[in-house]
C-alpha cells in the first residue's frame, strides 16, 4: 500500500506546551525587603500576553517613594550581605541556580506568555543561560581575591539595575548574579511589559532563603527607572536598553560617584564573503535577525553580502525564510513569536514603511498573521544603501537590511560605519580573513562562522554608542567592584 500524498505533505499538528505548569496570580506587589507590598500610592498596571492581548496579571507600579523604600532596604541589607564570607554568598547563588533549573519549564512558559517569544527559545536558550549565569557567578563569590582586581576587592554598595523586555529573566540574571556574588545588594526594575518573571524570581529568592533586602524588585515604567538611577544612595547603576535612555542615564549620574555600565543598542553587520559555508551562513543570518523576532540588541540586522554571491545567497535565504513557522509562541514548533508590545510593533511598522518610502525593496515570505496580538512577518529589504534609514536605525524587529560589498576593505568600512558597535558576524572559510576582519571591526562581540552565541564565561558589551562595561566572565565582576 502506498501513502496518499497530502496537498501539503507534512503539516505539523499543533504541539502546544502545557500552560498549566505555571500559576499566574491575578495581582502582584512590589518585592521590597523580602515582602510583596503594594505601591505607596496604590498604582497598578496590567501586563498582557502579546500573542493574544490577554491580561495576565495586574502588577503594582513603583513610584519614587517605593524606590526610596527599596533602596533603604537594600542599604540595610548591604552591611550583613557584604560581610558574609564569599563562600556563604556563593551557596545562596548556587541555590538560586538550582531552583531555576528545577523550575525552568514553569519559568519558560511564563516568559513565553509575558514576552511573546517562542517556547523553543525560552526553553532551549533563555532558561539554560539564566541558570548557567547564576552558577557561574556563584563560583566567583569566594574567589574575588584571585580575579585580578587586587587583594580583597570591595563591593560598591547598592546597585540600581534597569532591564529590558527582550530577555527579561536572562537580563535579570546578567545583572543580579554578578552583583550578589561581589557582595552588593540590588534594586532591580524589570520592563513594564514583562514584569512577571522578575516577580517569580523574587519567590525563588524566598525559596533560597536569601536574606531580606538583598534583592528588591520594583516593577514600573520609565519614571520608576529614572527615580532609581537618580537616587542619591545608589552606588552603582547598570542599564540595558535603548541608546537614547542610556545617554539620559549617563547625564543623570554625571558628577556623582556612581559607577555606570550601559548595554545599549546595535546595528550589527553580518558579513558574508564569497567563500562562506553558505548553508551555515544562511542559518546564521536567520538566527542573527529572527531569533527573538529580531528584538535583540546584538542582532545581525545588516547583512553585508559580497556582490558576487548576492543572488545565490538571497535565493537560499528566501527559501529558508519560507520554512519559518510563525504563530502561537507556546507551540513547540513555532520559530517566530509575537512582537513584545503594541508600541514596539508600531515602531517596527513605521521604520519599515520608511524603508519602502526611501526606495528599498521589501520582501516577506507568504505568512499568515494571527488576528489578535502583535505580529510582524519576517522581512527582508534589498537594494539598501548605507544612506537608508533601515540600514542606520536600530529597528529591533524581524527586519533584515541587505547591502552588498566588493572587497574586504569595503565590508569593514561599511560594517563600522555606524555609531553603534555591539556585534558583528563574519562568514568565510579563510582563517586569515576572519582574523584580519575581526581585528578591524569595532564591535564588542564578533561571531565568525556562527552568530548569536552567548555564554556566562564570555564578556559581552559594546563599543561606541552601544555602551560601556562588560557583562559576563571575569570582566563582568569589575562593574560591581570598587576598583
Amino acid at each position: 500500500m502506498s501513502i496518499e500524498k497530502r496537498s501539503s505533505a507534512f503539516e505539523y499538528a499543533p504541539a502546544p506546551e502545557s500552560r498549566s505548569i505555571v500559576d499566574i496570580a491575578p495581582s502582584y506587589g512590589l518585592f521590597i525587603d523580602g515582602e510583596f507590598v503594594e505601591a505607596a500610592d496604590g498604582r497598578v498596571f496590567k501586563t498582557v500576553s502579546p500573542s493574544t492581548e490577554e491580561v495576565l496579571s495586574e502588577v503594582a507600579q513603583a513610584g519614587a517613594e517605593d524606590v526610596d523604600r527599596a533602596v533603604k532596604a537594600a542599604r540595610k541589607a548591604f552591611e550583613k550581605w557584604s560581610a558574609l564570607p564569599g563562600s556563604e554568598r556563593a551557596k545562596y547563588l548556587f541555590r538560586i541556580a538550582r531552583i531555576i533549573q528545577e523550575r525552568s519549564r514553569e519559568l519558560a512558559v511564563l516568559e513565553t506568555l509575558d514576552n511573546g517569544k517562542p517556547i523553543k527559545e525560552t526553553r532551549d536558550a533563555d532558561l539554560p543561560l539564566v541558570a548557567a549565569h547564576f552558577f557561574y557567578y556563584a563560583g566567583w563569590a569566594d574567589k574575588l581575591d584571585h580575579a585580578g582586581f587586587g587583594p580583597s576587592p570591595k563591593p560598591l554598595g547598592v546597585a540600581g539595575q534597569v532591564i529590558p523586555w527582550n530577555f527579561p529573566l536572562l537580563m535579570l540574571a546578567w545583572k543580579i548574579a554578578p552583583a550578589l556574588a561581589t557582595g552588593n545588594t540590588v534594586v532591580l526594575k524589570p520592563a513594564e511589559t514583562t514584569p512577571l518573571s522578575a516577580l517569580f524570581f523574587a519567590d525563588i529568592c524566598r525559596q533560597a532563603g536569601l536574606p531580606k533586602g538583598v534583592v528588591n524588585i520594583l516593577p514600573g515604567y520609565g519614571d520608576t527607572g529614572a527615580a532609581l538611577v537618580a537616587h542619591p544612595d545608589v552606588n552603582k547603576v547598570a542599564f540595558t536598553g535603548s541608546t537614547a535612555v542610556g545617554k539620559q542615564i549617563a547625564r543623570t549620574v554625571a558628577g556623582s560617584r556612581k559607577k555606570l555600565t550601559l548595554e545599549l543598542g546595535g546595528k550589527g553587520a553580518n558579513i558574508v564573503f564569497d567563500d562562506a559555508p553558505i548553508d551555515q551562513a544562511v542559518e546564521g543570518i536567520v538566527s542573527g535577525i529572527f531569533f527573538n523576532q529580531g528584538q535583540v540588541c546584538c542582532a545581525g540586522s545588516r547583512l553585508l553580502v559580497q556582490e558576487s554571491i548576492q543572488d545565490e545567497l538571497l535565493d537560499s535565504l528566501k527559501r529558508r525564510l519560507s520554512t519559518l513557522r510563525l504563530g502561537d509562541p507556546l507551540d513547540k514548533n513555532t520559530d517566530i513569536g509575537a512582537i513584545n508590545s503594541e508600541e514596539q510593533l508600531a515602531r517596527i511598522t513605521t521604520l519599515v514603511e520608511q524603508g519602502e518610502a526611501e526606495g528599498a525593496e521589501r520582501w516577506s515570505p507568504a505568512c499568515e498573521l494571527p488576528s489578535s496580538g502583535y505580529w510582524f512577518a519576517p522581512t527582508l529589504f534589498t537594494n539598501v544603501t548605507q544612506a537608508h534609514t533601515v540600514a542606520r536605525d536600530e529597528i529591533f524587529g524581524p527586519v533584515l537590511s541587505v547591502l552588498t560589498f566588493r572587497t574586504p576593505d569595503e565590508a569593514v568600512a561599511k560594517a563600522n560605519n555606524t555609531p553603534y558597535g555591539l556585534s558583528a558576524g563574519i562568514w568565510t572559510e579563510k582563517g586569515s580573513r576572519i582574523l584580519a576582519v575581526a581585528n578591524k571591526l569595532r564591535a564588542g562581540v564578533v561571531w565568525s562562522n556562527t552568530f548569536n552565541k552567548f555564554d556566562p564565561t564570555s564578556p559581552f558589551g559594546g563599543y561606541k554608542e552601544s555602551g560601556f562595561g562588560r557583562e559576563g566572565g571575569r570582566h563582568g565582576l569589575e562593574a560591581y567592584l570598587d576598583v
Binding site: K5, F10, Y12, A13, A15
Partner: protein
Amino acid sequence: MPTNAPTAAHSLSDVTSSDSTLRRFLHGLPGVDAVGLEARAAALGTRSIKTTAKAYAIDLAISMVDLTTLEGADTPGKVRALGAKAVRPDPTDRTTPATAAVCVYPDMVAVAKEAVAGSGVKVASVATAFPAGRAALEVKLADVKDAVAAGADEIDMVIDRGAFLAGRYLKVYDEIVAVREACGTSARLKVIFETGELSTYDNIRRASWLGMLAGADFIKTSTGKVAVNATPANTLLMLEAVRDFRAQTGIQVGVKPAGGIRTSKDAIKFLVLVNETAGEDWLDNHWFRFGASSLLNDLLMQRQKLATGRYSGPDYVTVD
C-alpha cells in the same frame, strides 16, 4: 522530470572532462561548517510531531524502509521471511503500508524477488564487492550484472573510498558511470559513500556531487558495517546537495540514510530534515528511503500505540 540521470547534466558536463577539472569543481563547492551543520540538524530534531502528523509520519516512514538483511548467515528462509514482512509489516493491521523494498546480497535477489512478487515491494541488492568495495572493476560489474539479471530493481553500490581519499575523483566517477551502465534501464542506482570513512563533511558534500554527476538515482550514507553510519547531520548535508543539484540541473536525486536509525522518533526527525531541507517533493519513497531493519518494528509499535492509545510491546510485532 526524468527519474534516472544516466549522464551528467549538460550544464556541468565539462566538469568531468578530466581529473583536474573534476577536482577543481568539487573543491570549489562551498565548505561546510561542522558545528553549524550539526546545530541545524539538532534544532530540526526538536520539532514536536504529534497526533495526526505523527500518524502520517509513521506510515510514511514505514513506506520508506528498505528492509535489510546483509549477513553472512542469510539463508533463503530468512530472506523469504523478510520479504513477507516487507509486504505485510503488521499482520494484525492491513492498513499498514508495505515497505519500499527489501535489501539483500546479490545471491539472494532471486529468492527475495519471489517473496515479494506482485506486491510492488522492490528488491534492492548491494553490489560492487559490498561493503569494502575492494575488488577489480570487472568483478564489481559482474556482481552488479548478476544482481540485475536475477531481477534486482535497485542496486546499492559502494564507492571506492580509497580512491576518493587519495584524491582520484575521476576514478571514482568512472566507476559509478560504469556501474550505472551495468544497471541498464531497469534498475535504479543507489551510491553508498560510507560517510563514516570519508570522515569530513566537506568530503561528504563532494562525494554527493560526484555521485550525482555520475548518474546516481539515490545517494546513500553508509553500508551499516562501520562505526558511524547515518546521522542527522550527514543526511541533512546530503539533502542540501540533492536540493542544490536539482536547482542547478533540474534532475532530482533521492537520499537514503542507512544504519543506526532504530526508533520512530529518529525516523521522524529524518522526515523533518527532508521536509524542511529538500522539501515535500522528496517526501515519497521514490525519493527517500531508510536503510534499516530493527526500525520497522519500532514504527509498528508506535503505530499500534497511536491506534489503540496503549503502549505496545515487542511480542505484538513479528521478529522477522
